[in-house]
Each structure stands twice: as C-alpha cells, then as structure tokens.
C-alpha cells in the first residue's frame, strides 16, 4: 500500500515590482501535486496551479470495446468534466487537445487492443480557460506516470499572455488573461522541449510567437524539475 506523497513547490522570484507580484518572464505561480490519492483508478494525481485545481484518474491498459479497438496500439480516451454544468463543445475541444498530446507521448504500441482512459475533473477554476488547459495537461501527465503507463517523454502545459503593449506574462492570473491581447497555451515535452500542442486566442505576430515559445520552454524546465523532485521524494522512502 503506497503512502500518499504530497509535494509542494514554490518557484518564483518575488521581485517587489510595483503592480505585479512577480518579475517578467521568469516565474510561475505556486503549484502543488498529490499522487495516488484515489483507490479505484490505476493511477491518479491532483495538480494545483495558482487558483486552478484539477483531479486526474487513469484506468489502463484495460479492456476495450470491439468497435473502438485499434489492432496495433492502445486506444486513448480523455474525459473532462467541468466544475459546474454539463460538458459542452469547449470541453470536447479540450479533450481532443489533451488526447492528441497524450497519444504523441504514450507508447501505445506496447499495449495493442487495449484502452487507456484519462478522466479529468475540474475541482476549482478561477474562470480562466487557458490556465485550465495547462493544469489539465500537468495533472494528466502526473496521473499517467502514477499509473505506470509507458511513455517516451513527459509533457507539461505552460500558459503565456501578451498585453496590448507587448509585455509577456507567464502563468497569468484570470484577470490578466481577460485583459490580455493574446493568450497562448503550449504543451512541451521534456526530452527536447519540442512543441507538442498549441492553442491560442487573440492576435499576435510571428516574432511574438517565437518569444512566447522561448519563454515557455524556459519555464517548462521548472515544471519538469518539480516532477522529478516530487517523484524522487515519493519513491525514495518506499
């Protein structure tokens, strides 16, 4: 019986600049992760980022319906439940983005004709769409690791917002997100920091995109270091 491992990370530089509590481009808000908290799923994780929190459970590799079975690899399914109300088109869209990201990293060919289901439940959501997607990606990755699903890389979600004057803010608060000219969410892998998934809102130029991507790649280092630390802490005692 594995004990719960609760790990927290406070990463960020409080530079004491007037209006914003953090310096430009270098810091993410407080995030925390808890693994193996549910008894039924094969793997589960809860990821808290700022004021957004998502609970993820993974079932798999398990039995698959004959209609959905793929002969040479595992069928991946993602179900995302919002905090309130019934799932709608926005949830379907996010499910597809998360599913395609997971399909790119999970080694499905090792488990043909099986199904791997990732269920995500939004626990708290400050009204931000892009931040929620990044948090869901992180929770899904941690849950897949907890379930022991073979993967070729880990992935993480990073959000950045562009203000009307062009300033880049990583991991924006929901207020900042609403006022921003453009909000970009990226999913990056940890082997070569390649771009796995991108979902954008608003208008931005090519140069700004490259700038955001570079900043996101730098920020993803912090997230991956946090993954490594939390897993080390979990497996070192047992």
């Amino acid at each position: 019986m594995e004990e719960e491992r609760h790990t927290e990370a406070k990463i960020g530089a409080e530079t004491g600049r007037g209006s914003s509590p953090r310096g430009p481009g270098c810091s993410l808000r407080h995030f925390a992760c808890e693994q193996n908290l549910l008894s039924r799923p094969d793997g589960s994780a809860s990821f808290l980022q700022g004021d957004t929190s998502v609970l993820a459970g993974v079932y798999g590799p398990a039995e698959v319906k004959v209609s959905k079975e793929i002969f040479n690899k595992a069928t991946l399914e993602v179900i995302l439940r919002p905090k309130i109300g019934l799932p709608g088109v926005a949830e379907k869209n996010r499910e597809r983005l998360i599913r395609n990201t997971c399909e790119a990293v999970v080694l499905g060919t090792l488990h043909p004709r099986t199904s791997i289901t990732v269920v995500l439940q939004v626990v708290s959501d400050a009204g931000s769409g892009a931040q929620l997607l990044a948090c869901c990606l992180n929770a899904a990755c941690m849950a897949l690791v907890d379930a022991g699903v073979p993967m070729r890389a880990l992935f993480c979600g990073v959000t950045c917002a562009l203000d009307s004057d062009g300033t880049l803010v990583l991991d924006p608060t929901s207020k900042r997100e609403k006022e921003a000219r453009a909000v970009l969410t990226f999913a990056l892998d940890n082997v070569e920091r390649k771009l796995l998934m991108s979902s954008t809102k608003g208008l931005f130029s090519d140069a700004e995109l490259q700038q955001c991507l570079a900043a996101a790649q730098a920020a993803s280092q912090h997230v991956f270091r946090f993954y490594r630390e939390s897993l080390q802490r979990r497996y070192s005692k047992s």
Partner: protein
C-alpha cells in the same frame, strides 16, 4: 507560361506517368503497407498525387451560388468541397453588450461526405471544426460586431453561417475558413430603420450594402510525418497516416489569429518558422484568387 511553371508541370507529368506504370503491384503494396508506400514517395520529395511537399491542390471558389441565402460560397480544395451559406436574422442584442450583434458559425459533416460519419448529433470532428471557426471569427475580428447592431439594446443582426462539407478529402479547416471568408464578402444586408411612431423595424430590400470585412484570415494546414517531414494541404489518406497536424491562420499583416496544433509529434521553433513563411505565400495566393472572383461577379 513561364519557364519555371512549364518545368514543374513536366515534372509532375513524369511522376504521374511513372506512378501509373507501377499499376497493379503498387495498388497491392499500398493496401498492405500504406505507410511504407507513402515513404517511398516522400523520399523522392513528392506525393502519390504528383504534388510537391509544399504545393497546394487546385483551389476553386464559386461565390453567390445560393440565391435564397444572404451570402454564399462554394470552395473546392482538390476533392474537398465545402459550401457556406449565411443567413441574417433579427435578434435582441446580448444584455452585457447591447451594441453588438452575433455571428454564429456551425460546421456540419454529414454522412454524405465520408463513410466515417454517421447521422445523428454532431461528432467530435464537427464540433472541433465549429469551435475552430468560431475562434477564427473571434480572434481575427473579421467583422466588427458593433457593425451588426441596428438599434442599441433593442435590435441587432445575427448572422448564421452554416458550413456543410459535401466531400471530405482532408484539410477541412482550410476549406471552411476560405468558404466562410468568401461567403461573408458576398453578404448583402438590407437597410433597416426603426419607425419612431410604431417602434417597429422597417426593412428596405431595395437598398442593400455589403458587410465591412476588416481582415482576411487565411488558414494553411500542415501534416507532420515521422516526426520530421512537414507537408502542406494533406489529403484524407495523408491525414490518416500523419503523426500530427498543424493549422496556421494568418491575416494580411502577417499577424496570426490562430496556431492550432492539437497534439501529435513535436516541432522545433525553426520548423514553425518555415511553416510561417509558407502561410504567408499561401495568404497571397488566396487573396489574389478571391479578389479575381469578387471582381468578376456582376453587381445584383
């Protein structure tokens, strides 16, 4: 015809002749090992239909074909056919934005276009495409919603844009974006005045005006193969074999309205840069085509 275009045409014909010579054996190999069959072509830097890796299929557009709609356009990208019809109706503006109208897009993938779609509620692909078009409209500000308001707080236009796919052969997002843009350019709204005494709307069908289209977003889709190769405008088979897709929506100033990469193999920043430059050239091609078509329409 310019020399370069003549040479490319000959090269395309050569490849097509070589492919036809393969004949029965090639068809068998294609069924058994589709990915290997495809890789043989990619090694020669071309594709089974004779196109280069960066070449689009022939694009044709027909504007104003539906007379009962306020604006319509039919776009054919190779075999992929999408028709867009725009209907304008009255509605009360939203309470939190009393000076704005609505633009409501809906993408329908009926069982007619491909055997993989069944009748019934919209499947995932149709919902994702609808969401994508809604995002493009929202992000690119193609129409200022304030232009659709007739009387603040009381009456506004709502434009229902219905996109129906008639033939699905890959690259549905590019075709839908182009069809939507062409149809919106074709929309003519009648003049509406509010009668001061009766407070009813009076529609003058004789006086119609075109919509004010502020930007021209054009979508360019790519498919990623074997984590390294990028090909433009994938067909249905290519999409099935691809390990990832990427769609870039760009407007005329080079600003991006949407970078849609729903998972799939990773891409480096340098590869993204190449895609951007291809998207810029595609924008010019599409803009030129549309301007020609609009000019050729006789005014109603």
């Amino acid at each position: 015809m310019s020399k370069v275009r003549w040479r490319n045409r000959r090269a395309g014909e050569e490849r097509r002749r070589r492919r036809r010579a393969g004949g029965k054996m090639a068809a068998g190999f294609k069924t058994v090992e589709p990915l290997e069959y495809y890789r043989r072509f990619l090694k020669e830097n071309c594709r089974p239909d004779g196109r280069e890796l960066g070449e689009f299929r022939t694009t044709t557009v027909n504007i104003g074909s539906i007379s009962t709609a306020d604006g319509s356009a039919l776009v054919k990208l190779g075999n992929t056919t999408v028709i867009c019809g725009v209907k304008a109706e009255f509605a009360a503006p939203p309470t939190d934005a009393p000076d704005k109208g609505y633009v409501v897009p809906n993408v329908d993938l009926p069982p007619l276009c491909s055997s993989r779609f069944r009748s019934g509620p919209p499947g995932e692909e149709a919902q994702v495409a609808s969401q994508f078009i809604a995002d493009v409209i929202e992000n690119s500000q193609i129409i200022q919603k304030e232009d659709l308001c007739i009387s603040p707080g009381k009456l506004a236009w709502v434009l229902y844009c219905d996109l129906i796919c008639l033939d699905y052969d890959g690259n549905i997002l590019d075709a839908c974006t182009f069809a939507l843009l062409a149809a919106l350019k074709n929309v003519q709204l009648p003049e509406v005045t509010i009668n001061g005494e009766t407070a009813l709307a009076e529609v003058n069908l004789k006086k119609k005006s075109y919509l004010n289209i502020r930007t021209h977003p054009v979508a360019t889709s790519f498919a990623v193969f074997d984590d390294t190769l990028l090909i433009v405008d994938p067909t249905g088979e290519e999409e099935h074999l691809a390990t990832g897709t990427l769609t870039i929506v760009m407007d005329e100033e080079g600003k991006l309205c949407c970078l849609h990469k729903p998972g799939g193999s990773g891409l480096t920043g340098a590869k993204l840069q190449d895609c951007m430059s291809r998207a810029v050239t595609r924008h010019k091609e599409v803009k030129k085509l549309m301007d020609e078509v609009i000019k050729s329409i006789k005014p109603k």
